[in-house]
Amino acid sequence: MKWDEFIITGDPLILGAQISILISAIGAVFVLTYFKKWKWLWDEWITSVDHKKLGIMYILIAILMFFRGGIDALMMRTQLAAPNMTFLDSLHYNEIFTTHGTIMIIFMAMPFLIGLMNVVIPLQIGARDVAFPFLNNLSFWTFVIGMGLFNISFIIGGSPSAGWTSYMPLASNELNPGPGQNYYLLGLQISGIGTLATGINMMVTIFKMRAKGMKLMMMPMFTWTTLITSMIIVLAFPVLTIALAEMTFDRLFGTHFFNLTNGGMPMLWANLFWIWGHPEVYIVALPAFGIFSEIITTFSKKRLFGYNAMVYSIVAISVLSFLVWVHHFFTMGSGAVVNSFFSITTMAISIPTGVKIFNWLLTMHKGRITFSTPMLWSVAFIPNFVIGGVTGVMLAMAAADYQYHNTYFLVSHFHYVLIAATVFACFAGFIYWYPKMFGYKLNERIGKWFFWIFVAGFNICFFPQYFLGLDGMPRRIHIYGVEDGWFALNFISTVGAFIMGLAFIILVYNIYYSFRYSPRETTGDAWGGRTLEWATSSAIPPHYNFAKVPEVTAMDPYWDMKEKGIDPNKIDKYEKIHMPSNTAVPFVMGCFMFLAGFGLVFEWFWMGIVGAIGIFACMAYRSFDYNDGYYVSVEEIEETEKRAREAK
C-alpha cells in the first residue's frame, strides 16, 4: 500500500476538517491535562457502569454525530442549490450522502434514543441499574468504536460511496475499489454488536427488574416502546450481522454471495438489507412514540387515552414491520401478486399508526395543556408526522411508486418521518429529561427560538422536495441542468437546510447559556411528572437511583402518589444497597476491536489477528473476574439523601 492510498489529500474541504480535528484533539488533551481531569474522566465516565452516565455519553456522541451528519447535509444542499454547481464533484457528493445517511440513522438516531432509554428506563421502572451493567458499558464502547472507525474513513483511505443501502454489485470490489466500503461493513458490524447487546439488556431489564407492583399493563409508554423496540432489535439485527459478514467475505476473501461473478446474487443483499432495514425504521420510530406519549400526558396533566389500544398498536406495528420490506424495491419486477401483497401490508401499518395519532389527540382533549418546549416538539410532531405518514401511504401504492421510487418524493417522505418522529422526539426527550440528567432546565425562551426556527427550516427544506420528486428529480444526483427546471424549489430547500443549521447553533448556545444561568432544580420533579423517574432526586439521581424502591399500585405511579399525598422519599430505615463495580475491560476490548476493524479495512490481516487475540483475551479475563459488585453502606445512603433533601 502506498501512502497516497492512506491519507486523503488534495481536497481543501477535507484538509480543513483534518486540521480542525487535529486542533480540537490537541485542545481536548490540553484542557484535560491542565485541569487534571484525566482520572475523573476514567473513573467517573469511561469505566462507569452507571446507566445514567452511559446514557449521557450516548447522547453527547449522538449530538456530535448530528453535527457531522448535518455538515454533510449542508454540503449536499449547497451543491444542489443551483444548476451546474461545482462545489462538490461526483465522487465527493456520493461519499457524503452515503456517510450522511449511515451516520444519521446508525450513529445519531439510534444512539440518541438508546441514550435516552439508558437514562430513563431503569428509573421509570424503579430499578437500580440495567440487568447487565458490564454489558451496557461494553455496548457503549462497541458503538463508539464502530462510530469512530466509520468516521475516520473520510480522512484515512476514503469514505464509502455506495449509499447507506450499499446495494450490490455496486458495493463490490469490482465497482467500488478501495477501503471505503470496508469501513461501512466493519463500522456497522462492530456497532451492531453493541446495539444487539443493548436490545437484550433492555429486554431483560424490563422483564425482570420492575418495581414491585408494576404489572406489564401498568408500564409507562416509553418503557413499553423500549421493550418492543428491543424485541425488534433482537430479531432484526442478526440479519444485518450475517449480511454484513457475507459482504465482508465477498470483499476481503473473494467469496461470491452477492457478486456479479460465479453465481452471486446481488438481489439477496437488497432483500437481507431491507429485512433488517425496515424494522430498523421502527427501531428509531417506536421509542419516539413512547417519548411523545410521556410528554403529552405530562403537559396535558391527563392520563394517556386508550392505553391498551396504544400497547396493542405498537405490537401490531412491530409485527407488520417485518412483513413490508419489499416496498423498498417494488420496481425489481417481483410480479404483480408479490407487489400487491406488500402494498397491502404496508398500507396496513397506517392503521395502528392512525390509532395512535387519534389517541394522542384525545389525550390532549379535556386536558390542561401547557406549552413548554418538550410539549411544543410533541405537538409539532403530529402534523409533520402525518404529512410524512400520508406520503408513506402514497408510496405504498406500488403502481404509483414506480413513479416516486428513487426520487425526491421519497427523500422528502423519509425525512418527514425520520425528523418529525425521531429527531423531534430526541429533542423533546432531551429537553424533558435534561433536568433529570443535569439538575437544571434548558432555558425555555431560547428553547422556543430553537423550536420555531428548526420547525420552519425543516418544512421549508423538505416540503418543496415532494414537488421536485413529482417533477422527475431523482435522488442521489449531484448535478442537474438549467433545462431540468428544478432550480427554484432546490434553492428554497437549501435555504431551509441552512435555517435548520442556524437552529442547531441556537440549541448549542442554549446548552451553554443554561449551564451558566439556569436556576438549579431542587425537587427532582421539574415538570410535574407522572412516572417514577421524577420520584427521585436530581441532578442526576444518586447512583443507586432510589434509596428505597417505591411500590407501585397504579398507572402513572408518581402522579398517583402525589394525589394521595405520599412522599416516596420519606423512608424510616435505610438498607444497604448492592451495586456493580466499574470496569475497564470493555474499553480495552473496544481498543482491540478498533485495531481488528482497522486492520480488516485495509486488509492487513496480521493486524486483524492481533486485534482478535486481544478481544478473546479480554473475554477470558472477564470470565475469571469474580468481582460481583459492592454494597453502598447505610451511612453513605443517609449522607447522600440528606444532601439531596437539603438542596430543597
Binding site: P177, G178, M332, G333, M347, S350, M364, P383, Y402
Partner: protein, 324 residues
C-alpha cells in the same frame, strides 16, 4: 384567536391548492402515454384522500390545542378519562376502509401495468432490449437488427416492450412522462411496457444510483409517427455501421458516451440477462482495472468519454496503462 386560526387555515388551504394546481406541469403529472396516465390518475386519487386525512387531523389538533390550553377560565378538565372503546373502534374502522378503498385501484393498476396497455394490446409491441452499462444506455431492436447508444426512437401509439438488463450495477430505466421505472439487473431480465401517444422528445434516465457517472446517465426518447419511425429504421439498417464485439467491449469500460447508431446488435454474442460476467471479463480484455479513486493512480485515470466516428469506430478509449 379562534377566528384568526380559522382564516389562517383557509389561507394555507388556498396556498396549497394553488401549489397543487401548479402540479399539472410536473413531469410525472403530465403524462404522454397510457401507462403514465394510469399512474398519474392513481396519484391524483391518493392525493385527494391524503389531503382529506391531513385536513381532519390538522383541524382536530388546532381545535383541541386552542380549546384545552391552560388558561384562567379553563373548562372541561377531565384527567381521569381512560379511553373510549367506541371512539377507538371508529378510528380503527375508518383507516381500514380507507386502506381498502386505496388498495382496489392500486392492485388493479399493478396488474394492468404488467400487460400492454388495453387500448393498443391488439398491436404487436416493439421489442427493445435496454441494457445499462456504467454509465450509458444501449438499446437494441432485435426485430430489425439495429442498436443505439444513449438515445431511443420509438413509434407512437404502439406498446413498447422493454426487456431490461444491466451489464454491471443495478440501474433503473425511467421515462417519467411515459411511465414509472423498473430495475435493470445483471444476469436477469425484467419487462416493462411503455407507450407514447404523442410525437415528441421525452427525457429518460437511469433513476437508480450506480456510482460516479450516475447523474449524467440520461437519454432522449424520440417518439415518431409510425411512418417516420419505419423510415428511420430503414435508413439505419442501410447507413449505420455494424457493431463488432471489439468495438462493443470499449463500451463495457465505465465511462460516458455520446449518441451512437449501429446496424447490428450485441445480442449476437452476449445477452447480459444470462451472462452477468461479460462486462468484467471485457475489462480484462481492454486492460482496465478498477482502482481506489482516491489513490494517485485512480485519480490519474480519466473515465473515457466515447464518441462514434463517421466510419463507425468508437473513439476516445485509452487503456489505463496509457495514462500512467
Amino acid at each position: 384567536m379562534l377566528k384568526n386560526g380559522k382564516s389562517l387555515k383557509w389561507l394555507a388551504f388556498l396556498a396549497l391548492s394553488l401549489f397543487l394546481s401548479g402540479c399539472g406541469n410536473m413531469t410525472v403529472l403530465d403524462p404522454k402515454g397510457p401507462v403514465a396516465e394510469s399512474q398519474a390518475w392513481l396519484i391524483w386519487f391518493s392525493i385527494g384522500f391524503m389531503l382529506l386525512i391531513v385536513l381532519v387531523v390538522f383541524i382536530l389538533l388546532t381545535v383541541i390545542l386552542v380549546k384545552y390550553r391552560e388558561r384562567e377560565d379553563h373548562k372541561g378538565y377531565q384527567p381521569e378519562i381512560e379511553g373510549s372503546h367506541k371512539l377507538e373502534i371508529i378510528w380503527t374502522i375508518i383507516p381500514v376502509i380507507i386502506v381498502i378503498i386505496l388498495s382496489v385501484p392500486t392492485i388493479m393498476t399493478i396488474f394492468e401495468l404488467e400487460e400492454a396497455p388495453a387500448a393498443t394490446a391488439h398491436k404487436e409491441p416493439v421489442v427493445v432490449h435496454a441494457t445499462s452499462v456504467n454509465w450509458k444506455w444501449i438499446f437494441s431492436y432485435p426485430e430489425v437488427g439495429i442498436e443505439t447508444v444513449n438515445y431511443l426512437n420509438i413509434p407512437t401509439d404502439r406498446p413498447i416492450l422493454f426487456k431490461l438488463t444491466s451489464a454491471d450495477s443495478m440501474a433503473a430505466l425511467w421515462i417519467p412522462q411515459l411511465g414509472g421505472q423498473k430495475y435493470n439487473m445483471a444476469g436477469m431480465e425484467t419487462q416493462l411496457y411503455l407507450q407514447a401517444n404523442e410525437v415528441g422528445t421525452y427525457a429518460g434516465r437511469n433513476a437508480n444510483y450506480t456510482g460516479e457517472g450516475f447523474s449524467e446517465q440520461k437519454f432522449d426518447v424520440v417518439a415518431l409517427e409510425q411512418g417516420d419511425f419505419d423510415a428511420w429504421v430503414e435508413e439505419t439498417q442501410s447507413d449505420a455501421p455494424e457493431l463488432t464485439q471489439e468495438e462493443y467491449d470499449k463500451l463495457m469500460v465505465p465511462g460516458s458516451s455520446s449518441e451512437m447508431t449501429f446496424s447490428s446488435t450485441h445480442l449476437d454474442w452476449v445477452d447480459h440477462s444470462t451472462d452477468a460476467e461479460y462486462a468484467i471479463n471485457a475489462w480484462e480484455r481492454m486492460g482496465y482495472e478498477p482502482l481506489n479513486p482516491h489513490s494517485r493512480a485512480g485519480k490519474a485515470y480519466e473515465m473515457p468519454a466515447l464518441t462514434q466516428s463517421d466510419s463507425g469506430e468508437i473513439e476516445g478509449f485509452e487503456s489505463q496503462a496509457a495514462n500512467e
